[in-house]
Symmetry: C2
Subunit: 164 residues, 2 copies
């Protein structure tokens, strides 16, 4: 069981959007350049984030993606669900009712314990992800980004801003 490959890209892109000035939307082209990613595939992830209302698209020559709300109002769970979907990972097809020993549906008054156990674990996973805000991710990023990279990134963004 694996997340979509683009999930890592989407979280990093949101983290980057949380760092740049809000009046400086980033087109998918710049996001892709910043992380050395294939632009068409990254654009697909950004579109999913847009559909989920996590980022918004600003049009025009200076257009691009910006966060649709504050980084304190976006959780890691929301980003994960925007990219991977919000469906349960464990699908219960009620096989306990099948086969030669199954009985009529009306006799199954209690939900299947196997599904409940699997879903309880998923709930613990979701709870952890819901507790992490994009602002937390941004703070972690600031702490762990080498000073050398931070300086290069600021210079890179200043160059892009001046060109714009």
């Amino acid at each position: 069981m694996k997340h979509t490959e683009g999930l890592e890209w989407a979280i990093h892109s949101c983290s980057l959007l949380a760092m740049v000035p809000t009046d400086f939307p980033l087109p998918a082209r710049l996001l892709a350049e910043f992380y050395d990613l294939p632009e068409p595939y990254l654009a697909k992830q950004m579109q999913k984030l847009s559909v989920a209302g996590i980022v918004e698209t600003r049009r025009g020559p200076q257009g691009g993606y910006a966060l649709a709300r504050q980084a304190t109002e976006i959780t890691l769970l929301q980003i994960v669900e925007a990219i991977d979907g919000a469906e349960r990972h464990f699908v219960c097809t009620e096989i306990r009712r099948c086969g030669p020993t199954g009985v009529e549906d009306r006799f199954y008054t209690r939900p299947c314990g196997i599904a409940r156990s699997m879903w309880r674990a998923e709930a613990a996973w979701r709870k952890e992800l819901a507790a992490v805000k994009l602002s937390d991710i941004q703070k972690l990023g600031e702490d762990e980004t080498p000073a050398e990279q931070a300086a290069k990134a600021i210079a890179w963004f200043q160059g892009k801003l001046q060109k714009g």
Copy 2:
């Protein structure tokens, strides 16, 4: 992100093996019949459980699958990992080091906070699954199986035992 379809089958099959007498191994054919599943696909899941040391194969005309250890010594996590693999769901490809602002690897002394946040949630999920034993699943199954089905199942197994 979805589990392998066969995971539901594998957990139910283990639960069934926990219920039958230990001297009555079940061939994949009977397990498939009990749950109305496609035998070749179920056999693949049973093979994975065998590789993981959760079930063992008993050979001969009365052969089949039996639990390799007590139901109190098998966890839901072990079954899930046997079927879906034990790899992390979130793969970190370190894209923070890529692009025009990346710096030399030696400057990255702290692991990526995005990966750590994702893995912390996975750890919570694994902890929940590791806390559920197959004996717990078996107990849940006894509680929720309709009395009508339990009676039919006992009769079905008695018929199979007598034929054997």
